[in-house]
Symmetry: C2
Subunit: 220 residues, 2 copies
């Protein structure tokens, strides 16, 4: 008779898989994608190296899953923030600012997950993340354009450009250091959001108003 998986075993397996992903995320947040290596990850998760392969057939699968997990959280947060906004333009502003603020709170992880290359297979996961991010912005931009809040424009260029501006402007190697100063961080997020809104054709005065009203500063 085939063996049955007890409730507790199922829980343990799931917990272990999560522990591996958590360990990978911590490594990535510390040393970038290059630091996501099987032996250290296994060590941090408190298991043997071989065990990692019971949960993920190859390292690329682990990395892909890590990226997908982070992506899901970020997209959820953006949608939640945008959904709570009163109109299309403030929804767009909220989505942008939320992404910016969350990326700032985990700069290295955000950079590793979005910008650092790795195995080609993991690249697909990153592509998906970026595509989803762009899509999210594109949707909201289209609504805003149709309703006359934004001038007509090529959203297939504008949306990724916004993503790039936020990444480079806030968490890229050239971005100004904000250390962990919450005031500086907040200000940087506002500056970047303002810049993005203007880039999309929101008038200076109106953009300023939108940014001033943003409910910044929450955490997951």
């Amino acid at each position: 008779m085939p063996y049955r998986r007890t409730e507790s075993v199922i829980r343990r397996l799931a917990a272990r898989e999560q522990a591996i992903l958590d360990a990978a995320r911590i490594e990535a947040a510390r040393g970038g994608m290059a630091a996501v290596q099987i032996i250290p990850v296994a060590g941090r998760a408190g298991i043997a190296t071989g065990t990692v392969y019971r949960y993920f057939p190859a390292k690329a699968d682990l990395v892909s899953q890590l990226i997908a997990d982070v992506a899901e959280r970020e997209l959820d947060a953006m949608r939640a923030a945008a959904g709570a906004a009163p109109g299309p333009l403030s929804a767009l502003a909220a989505a942008i600012a939320t992404f910016a603020a969350r990326a700032m709170s985990e700069r290295k992880l955000a950079w590793a997950v979005m910008a650092e290359p790795a195995e080609p297979e993991a690249d697909a996961a990153r592509r998906d993340f970026r595509a989803a991010l762009s899509d999210e912005l594109q949707q909201r931009m289209r609504v805003a354009i149709v309703r006359g809040y934004l001038p007509g424009q090529d959203v297939t260029i504008a949306a990724p450009a916004i993503v790039g501006a936020l990444l480079e402007g806030l968490i890229g190697p050239m971005a100004p250091a904000v250390d962990d100063d919450p005031a500086k961080t907040r200000e940087a997020v506002q500056t970047a959001t303002l810049l993005c809104l203007r880039a999309l054709g929101v008038g200076d005065a109106r953009a300023f108003g939108l940014v001033a009203q943003l409910p910044l500063g929450r955490r997951d």
Copy 2:
């Protein structure tokens, strides 16, 4: 008595070093940074693998030099274009558009040199490139701000944000395909430049006027 380096020997050595760099650039343009490997590069340059090490102590040095070379060309082109412009704002527009147009003409190489990670040492060269690019834009932005052409703003965020917007919007994995269609390419460059100018606070109408006047479409 120490050996003298004949004129012809000096020329041959210089030519060979250039051949190695050219080979590396071709590989990068084809397959990204991952394709810059010593054996293929040596093969393409028509020499043995060991010979590469007579010219570059380590692969990281070769990659760094490659990045620095590309950076120098791009910065020169930007400065030349900006220098030929009639005023601070059109100079800024010209610098942005020139960078955008040139990156588009060698998308994969531009991406490899600016965005793909590699050895940590090569990362320093990329950092320098980005810093120089940001600096170039910052200088021009400051001038434009002082003379009242642009609203006051944090240029240390704005400059890298512009770079990021161009990279992601035009040559990143999410950017729309333009294949080799010159009309599409030209239009994409205009769209992206317009977006950048608006991001910096140039009014929509004026930005449109600046972009329309850009002398686009030259090559090195």
